[in-house]
């Protein structure tokens, strides 16, 4: 009798734990519709994913104090990609999910100053200080990149490139997954690497 109730308790516990583990992250999945979100940018303008239906959207999780983000901005790599993308009609949303008081958290003004000083060219910088969008997408690192196609389907998630180092010299040697994906999409080819390992600092939730 005690054994039965013990087993029952075990199952209930297992159920609770499983349920818990599933709620940690909503699951975005490559090949499925990307979940909609509404975010406010550094100028106080609202952006939703759904408003960009018909356009390709790039999401870039960022934190200007993270050495890995610095690698790609100091070298000019990220800005170049942003310009290449937006010039081809792609919407580029940089997202900062750092909580207030944590590394990388900035005000709208600071975010604009950063964009200007770094010559960055995103469509907008979304301030996600409630972590809502970060947790919705399961963003883990800065940078962590997502691409959503014109139909609203998630087509890429992962790293910026395939050499997880902080060394700027590696950029030239690396395969830039985001550029490769955007180029493939532009000519209607399938994306070769559509899920890759994101590398960088943890998102400061």
């Amino acid at each position: 009798m005690t054994a039965t109730s013990c087993k029952l308790a075990q199952f209930i516990l297992l159920g609770i734990l499983t349920a818990f583990s599933l709620t940690t992250y909503a699951r975005v999945e490559v090949g499925k519709a990307s979940p909609d979100f509404i975010g406010v940018d550094s100028n106080g303008v609202k952006h939703s994913l759904s408003q960009y239906k018909g356009k390709t959207v790039v999401l870039e999780w960022t934190n200007h104090d993270c050495p890995y983000v610095r690698k790609h901005y100091h070298s000019g790599n990220m800005q170049k990609l942003q310009k290449h993308a937006t010039a081809n009609g792609v919407v580029w949303l940089s997202i900062i999910s750092s909580k207030p008081g944590k590394q990388g958290h900035v005000s709208g003004q600071q975010a604009n100053a950063l964009s200007q000083s770094r010559n960055a060219a995103p469509t907008a910088v979304i301030l996600d200080e409630t972590s809502e969008i970060g947790l919705l997408y399961g963003a883990k690192t800065t940078p962590h990149m997502y691409i959503i196609d014109k139909t609203g389907e998630l087509v890429y998630m992962g790293g910026i490139d395939n050499i997880p180092s902080k060394d700027e010299d590696d950029i030239a040697k690396a395969k830039n997954y985001v550029r490769a994906a955007l180029d493939a999409m532009a000519v209607g080819k399938p994306i070769e690497d559509n899920i890759t390992r994101p590398y960088g600092c943890s998102v400061k939730y």
């Binding site: 516990l13 297992l14 499983t18 940690t24 104090d65 590398y199 943890s202 939730y205």
Partner: protein, 699 residues
């Protein structure tokens, strides 16, 4: 005078070396062995103070990390990065990959990282060349990069140099780091000593580990560290249950859940409550995932099973039965086609039902958590003995000592239809029983696959095996035209029958030898005597055939059963099984194997059994050849024998790890911590010498 002069010269040289030695060390100061950053102190260290020519040794990059900060494991988890070491070694030196002690969990908000706090010891095995001269001073250079994090992360790097003298083996002494090396090695994951499997679905991985011999009440915690990104959601809980000694861990699939998982790689850390605190043990998991039906070709496996079944017909241990069948078909070709057909069907049924029974038995055992494999029947002395009696009695019957009724299994002049059908059925049964020890190569694959499948699929594979075995005979019985090549019945059949008795005696003799490996000497004598008694009783049976009174026959049968039962009761395993080094080989011991591998020693492991003919042939024609033995000695290869004659879960586990359900299996560990090379099942001297040629000479 000459002698005096040279002594003086030597002295001056020694003094000069001693004087200048500090300068040598001073020259390396620009690349230190130790680098201090604000967050940690990194050191390049060696377990020993010197290098012995040709003797592999452990070096390590050690981090002494300030509180709250950490560095990362091979899989850093959701963020972070593992350290890298780029070696610049003197010519002829080789450095292996980093051996990572098991990490700890480092949760950061909703994320999970894997790494080390306080101390991290990244072990690397280094192999110096043989050509070094004692007295040389060598410098090992390494450029390392690492990420050290609290919440924020700092990438750091260092260029290290470690100066070590070349010395002779008898001068070797441990460095101050020796204890740290020992501690770190204890935290290296070991091969999992238990059978494990993984079930894959769209969102979860279910890992099952059969913890036989573990007191699971003492389990405190179980955690799986995946070897690489995307396999599991690192931050997700890993609930586990223990049921009948089977540990089940439920893992949430990670980013790569949309892709098929070929193999689950990682480290499972099992924490156990012990008398003096908590014992933590890490094990390497490398479980081939049960393939999803869509991604593999079950059709191909079924085809293999069919071919395997066909091949069983020409296996030496089935040969006598095969001949028996040939005679039976010759016999029945004179009869009505319908009779022939029903005989064919009866034979097929006999085969199929026997296979189904074996399959059910295997699956039942699997379900009960037994570590089993093909040929397991021959691990039971009782089964071996019964098989011996059966074959011996058949041999005696073929020799004409006795007969069973008018006929037995379809032999005899006045064969009735009914008896023929029953005979054909039992011929099928007999053929399967005798065929079981013969693991044809195709069958091994099919069976290995079958045992990892769902019950229904496994059963299907066994049935197809049976169909393969019965197919030729079924075809002949339906199209007797096919048997036109068979000679006409006649007096030659009696001669053939008598000749066929001898392969049966040979098989019985071989089985007795198998038995001799399993029981003590007294039991063996009882077994031999039981055969004499068996032949006596069969002789009596024949003499009493004309007697009308059945009481004698019943009495004889009872006596026979009594004899056999008494004999079975008197079979005892040998008092001790010797685990010592015997001749040129050592008994298999997973712990010893790991030890040897850690020491970089090359090892050849021969998984064998006394009842496995292929294994014994391989030993005879390849392993025990003088050239091969000489090469083993020359290369410093340790030769281990894993004897599976009796059930041994440690061996079964290892076989399972390599996707095998039976012997033979030959593993050659080339040393230097490299993974094993699986040698072919059929060995030749050439195959072995070529394989041995590939490994570097040890010592």
């Amino acid at each position: 005078m000459m002698i005096g002069q040279s002594t003086w010269l030597v002295r001056v040289t020694i003094i000069a070396i001693l004087l200048f030695a500090p300068l040598f060390t001073a020259a390396t100061e620009d690349k230190p062995t130790r680098i201090k950053t604000p967050h940690l102190t990194a050191s390049l260290v060696s377990e020993y103070k010197g290098i012995v020519p040709g003797q592999p040794f452990w070096a390590a990059l050690h981090f002494d990390i300030i509180p709250d900060w950490h560095t990362y494991w091979q899989n850093a988890g959701d963020s972070g990065n593992p350290p890298t070491i780029d070696w610049q070694l003197p010519p002829g030196f080789q450095a292996g990959d980093i051996h990572w002690p098991y990490p700890q969990r480092l949760p950061v908000g909703p994320l999970m990282n894997y790494g080390y706090s306080h101390q991290a010891m990244l072990l690397v095995r280094i192999i110096p060349p043989d050509s070094l001269q004692p007295g040389q001073a060598l410098e090992l250079h390494a450029n390392a990069e690492w990420l050290v994090c609290k919440v924020e992360c700092i990438p750091e790097e260092g260029k290290f140099s470690l100066s070590l003298p070349v010395i002779t083996a008898n001068r070797q002494t441990a460095s101050a780091w020796a204890d740290a090396f020992n501690d770190a090695r204890q935290r290296l994951p070991q091969p999992l000593p238990w059978p494990a499997s993984v079930d894959v679905n769209a969102s979860q991985l279910t890992v099952n580990i059969n913890l036989s011999g573990v007191d699971t009440r003492q389990l405190q915690e179980v955690y799986f560290y995946p070897a690489s990104y995307g396999i599991i959601e690192h931050a997700a809980r890993q609930p586990y249950t223990v049921n009948n000694n089977t540990l089940t861990i439920t893992l949430t699939r990670g980013d790569l859940r949309g892709q098929s998982l070929r193999q689950l790689d990682g480290v499972v850390l099992i924490s156990e409550r012990a008398a003096d605190g908590v014992l933590k043990r890490a094990f390497t998991l490398a479980i081939p995932a049960a393939p999803t039906p869509s991604s593999t070709h079950p059709g191909l496996i079924l085809l293999f099973a069919l071919i395997g079944g066909l091949l069983l017909n020409i296996m030496p241990c089935v040969f006598p039965i095969l001949s028996l069948k040939a005679l039976q078909i010759v016999q029945s070709s004179a009869q009505a086609p319908a009779t022939v057909r029903s005989n064919g069907i009866a034979f097929t049924l006999g085969v199929l039902i026997s296979f189904a029974i074996i399959a059910a038995l295997l699956l039942l055992l699997r379900a009960s958590g037994e570590a089993i494999g093909w040929g397991f029947q021959l691990q039971s002395p009782a089964f071996v003995l019964i098989l011996t009696w059966l074959l011996f009695a058949m041999g005696l019957m073929f020799s004409g000592l006795w007969s069973f009724g008018e006929s037995f299994m379809g032999l005899g002049q006045q064969l009735t239809t009914r008896r023929g059908t029953a005979g054909a059925f039992f011929t099928g049964v007999l053929a399967v029983i005798v065929a079981t020890p013969c693991t044809a190569p195709f069958m091994g694959t099919a069976l290995g696959y079958a045992l990892s499948q769902s019950t229904g699929t496994a059963l299907l594979i066994f049935i197809v095996l049976g169909i393969g075995m019965a197919l030729p005979w079924l075809l002949i019985s339906f199209w007797p035209g096919l048997s036109n090549w068979l000679p006409k019945p006649g007096a030659w059949m009696e001669i053939t029958k008598q000749i066929l008795a001898f392969p049966l005696y040979a098989t019985a003799a071989w089985l007795l030898w198998v038995l001799s490996q399993q029981v003590d000497q007294a039991s063996l004598l009882v077994a031999f005597m039981s055969l004499v008694l068996l032949s006596f009783l069969l002789w009596c049976w024949q003499k009493l055939r004309t007697t009308t009174h059945p009481i004698y026959k019943v009495g004889l049968v009872l006596l026979l059963i009594l004899t056999l039962a008494a004999t079975l009761h008197q079979q005892h395993p040998p008092a001790t099984t010797s685990n010592q080094i015997q001749g040129n080989w050592q008994a298999y011991d997973p712990v010893r194997l790991n030890e040897l591998r850690r020491n970089g020693q090359p090892v050849l492991v021969n998984f064998t059994a006394a009842w496995c003919i292929t294994c014994l042939v391989n030993e005879k024609v390849a392993i025990s050849r003088a050239t091969v033995q000489a090469q083993l000695r020359q290369k410093g290869v340790v030769y281990m024998k894993a004897d599976w004659t009796n059930k041994d879960p440690r061996i079964t586990n290892m076989l399972n790890q390599y996707g095998r359900s039976g012997v033979p299996l030959y593993l050659l560990y080339p040393g230097k911590g490299q993974d094993a090379v699986v040698l072919p099942n059929i060995l030749t001297e050439g195959i072995l010498t070529d394989a041995l040629q590939q490994i570097a000479t040890h010592e």
